[in-house]
Symmetry: C2
Subunit: 144 residues, 2 copies
């Protein structure tokens, strides 16, 4: 009954999602989705919209519209590619980087507290999670 890991993880994910969104919204003024979006962008450096879509696992139109919103708030910046008139290069702004840094700090500190309460070793859990994520990516690729 309770011993389904898929269900358990599902519920945990749901609650983390909610909690993270709440935290980010009130303290940094951004949604969790957008925060992850910016984090991936920062991690990728300057890339084209399509590359960003692939990195995020989103469709091209989804990225396109999201970027318009993020640009409105000065979190990102797009410029035409000098060597390819169709491509647009996306870069995170200083304000965007700041949001990423702030958000990460915020979430991490709350997460650390959570780990202490749960009596779980953060380093250990992080490693397991990293392996899982890697495995999932590998699995999805193989299945396609």
């Amino acid at each position: 009954m309770d011993n389904s890991l898929a269900y358990l993880l599902g519920k945990l994910m749901f609650e983390i999602d909610r909690a993270a969104d709440q935290l980010l919204q009130t303290d940094v003024g951004i949604s969790y989705r957008r925060f992850l979006f910016l984090t991936v962008l920062q991690h990728s450096g300057t890339v084209t919209q399509h590359e960003l879509a692939v990195a995020l696992g989103y469709s091209d139109p989804a990225v396109s519209t999201m970027l318009v919103e993020l640009a409105k708030d000065d979190y990102i910046q797009t410029t035409k590619s000098p060597e390819h008139g169709r491509k647009r290069l996306v870069t995170i702004t200083a304000k965007g980087s700041e949001v990423v840094a702030k958000g990460r700090q915020l979430l991490d500190s709350h997460f650390d507290q959570l780990m202490v309460i749960a009596d779980v070793d953060a380093q250990h859990y992080r490693e397991l999670t990293e392996r899982l994520q890697q495995a999932l990516i590998t699995k999805l690729k193989k299945e396609k």
Copy 2:
């Protein structure tokens, strides 16, 4: 850079969400959200809509509309409470239970494979996850 657990978990959650939804949609014909909804309902037994909303962490209207949809597909059933004319009792149907069982089996089997690939002990990870979920609930309650 990569060493943020919050970010790592976020990405993992996102990918699991996608993968689970894909699996359930094609094999069982239901969204991941609805699957979780039904799972909680089955776990709760027969409850009022409001109780269900609390258990799920949703607003009352959200539950109300979701139930209408689920009833259309014969996954759930509602009846007026005999001792309280305003309350409506919600029960999962045989078809709903079947979907929950099928979905759980499907997700669990895929998860087990994932654990093997990632070389993570499922039992161990389950325990850590359970503790985390418990801690998160406790933490949220305290903060309110």
